[in-house]
């Protein structure tokens, strides 16, 4: 993975030709709860990836259909209510939201996409939403990317907004991003809500290909609590405002674009892991030496989703046996006598048994906010990296009290 230079002050309006806004309309008790992204350029290409949950939220069903066209101009996101498991009424509400945005912005309804996040199974307070739509269309500005990033937060403790910039054929291109976590996250095909914008000129098909490639080692490698939401989605808009011809697949420019997008998506994923509900630590789990990609992925996810590993990390407890137990139970075959384990660079076990490691040094390294668990399970060539966080008292508090 190529490391890209991240601008932490960047946002979805850092690329040229985008406006955004974030307002409070009363869906949540407090805090901004409505976000809007708008591209100035007609013919802005769009791609998206969506939850594979059988229960798909109304906005997911609507957006999935419209993204298929390959072009869109606006994306409205509300937080505080998922508009999921809301039946025909929820679908009608979603249609109406998009229609009102389209009218105010002079677009066709098909050019407006939606996403929602929040409580499942409750009807949206539509009068508040309509008032909010009026306000937010007025508030659109090329300076307000951060407001939008704030407005999509639920239990997130900080907004996830950043950008990266690179040169292709002498032309400066920017990609901006915003995302929200921070519970119910265990993406398969798609994940949570993440939005990327770029001023590069990319047509819909290659844009989709770039997005799929970029989320694989990033958002799809993120797990907070093993849950996949009814509302997960990731979008990318490409409006071509940087000028130049459409980038071609298999070109130097396209490869550079994918590399930059992937690098940015990894940084977004890390910030989501670090801000997992109640998290005090970001944990990177790497499994090497697996016989297949599937095995590597399964083993790394088993460790990352293990409640006992996650609570041990929270307790700064060098209880490495739980890591062995987790990979041993995950259903893949390997020789326990081959297993190597290192935690934050310190070798703990070799050939399946503990080495004579420095317990104090290990305990000390577990004080860090950033923990790396590295396993080698054999002589295979496949490896996988998964990003997660610890499991804490605060996660329980947040999720035992979220509804009421």
């Amino acid at each position: 993975m190529k490391t890209v230079k991240i601008n932490p002050a960047g946002s979805i309006t850092t690329p040229r030709g985008y406006k955004a806004a974030g307002v409070y309309c009363g869906i949540k008790e407090k805090g901004k709860d409505l976000a809007l992204l708008f591209s100035d350029m007609p013919g802005t290409a769009v791609a998206g990836l969506f939850t594979t949950n059988v229960f798909k939220a109304a906005p997911v069903i609507l957006s999935r259909k419209r993204v298929h066209r390959g072009y869109a101009r606006a994306l409205l996101i509300n937080s505080g209510n998922a508009n999921a498991c809301t039946g025909a009424e929820g679908a009608k509400d979603a249609e109406e939201m998009a229609l009102r945005v389209a009218k105010r912005l002079g677009l066709s309804a098909e050019e407006v996409l939606l996403a929602s996040t929040g409580i499942i199974g409750e009807k949206l307070p539509m009068n508040k939403v309509y008032t909010g739509i009026e306000q937010i269309c007025e508030a659109l500005s090329s300076d307000c990317g951060h407001d939008a990033a704030e407005a999509i937060m639920t239990t997130d403790t900080f907004r996830k907004s950043m950008s990266t910039c690179f040169e292709i054929d002498g032309r400066n291109v920017t990609i901006g991003a915003m995302a929200k976590g921070s519970g119910m996250i265990n993406p398969k095909m798609a994940t949570l809500i993440a939005v990327f914008t770029t001023d590069m000129a990319v047509e819909p098909e290659p844009l989709k290909e770039a997005l799929s490639a970029a989320v694989q080692p990033s958002l799809n490698a993120l797990t907070i609590d093993g849950e996949m939401s009814t509302n997960d989605c990731v979008f990318i808009f490409a409006n071509g405002a940087a000028g130049g011809d459409f980038v071609k697949r298999n070109s130097h420019g396209f490869d550079g674009f994918v590399a930059a997008l992937s690098g940015l998506a990894v940084e977004v994923s890390k910030s989501l892991a670090a801000d997992g509900e109640g998290a005090t630590k970001m944990i990177t789990v790497t499994v090497e030496g697996a016989a297949s990609q599937e095995d590597a992925d399964k083993a790394a996810r088993a460790v990352a989703n293990s409640l006992l590993v996650k609570t041990a990390m929270y307790g700064k407890d060098p209880n490495w046996g739980r890591i062995f137990s987790a990979i041993g139970a995950c259903g893949i075959g390997f020789d326990p006598g081959d297993v190597f384990l290192a935690i934050s660079g310190q070798t703990i076990a070799c050939n399946g048994a503990p080495v004579n490691f420095d317990l104090q040094k290990l305990s000390h390294s577990l004080e860090s906010r950033d923990i790396a668990i590295r396993l080698k399970i054999g002589g295979g060539i496949h490896s996988a990296t998964i990003y997660t966080c610890d499991l804490t008292h605060e996660y329980i508090s947040i999720n035992a009290e979220y509804h009421t």
Copy 2:
């Protein structure tokens, strides 16, 4: 499932011809930590089921091999140390423990089985264990079944010990049981540590068949935290002390035995769920109408292992959307428009959307220590029931602080 009459005061020494003991030998900081079961009858049949974790503890490897012979007389169990991931030295320690018990009791080493539970990856304090073995062989008594049940506890808050009694062909037969939870529990083939004793005359092969049948709807239907241990095992001893001929497969007597054993195992499982680490509630998840047994099982386990469902139950939070999200994400196919949900007898959703239910009544029913989640996901004939508990602050405390 036939309900059996449970004697909560019963134990593994309630059936005739068994002695047991539980002592403190210093593996744990406090509390009994060594248990011994002994059958008076030569030719006592035994069957066992063991963890499928790749990392099998030394006592599991030893016992699995010996159980294969079909006969055993004694079972030594220590708590506080799992003797897992301890390499060749751990295997040698296990051999030596069994040998010392055999010598003291006048048995051959092959007649002694072992189980261990506790911290993974640390060497057993063998000198303490040897002293404990001397003591515990002295302490064996037909009155001390409860002491043994106490001695196998780790984070359990109460001992699990009970028995059931039934008549077969005019003869009274008893089955006793003890078990320990209460974290790292998500059995597949086998589970945790559970020990059954019976004075019925059963030969090894039918005994194994009866055990496999009995754990399916009980111990294999139990999940506390989705973790499968390196040390899970379940044993049954049948010493024939009730008299009579060996029971034949496919006979009335065998069916009665399997029914009684299954019923007892379900009660043991429920008590383990109720005492799951940090648990405040026992939760029974039933999925009906599935297209296959595998689908029913997968869906019920997905709900039972969902952190968000478990924390909602802890918070007495009627956040039913999380139940839908969990089954929607579990990877089985069904029509969301067909789904029915009831919580503790109250209908919450029909045809995939909420009905106009009484929120106050639902909130009130969530105050109970016993919650029933019932889902119907289609017109299929398959169903599954899984037992679990809620996820609480106390679970985090226990597991963040267990090691140190």
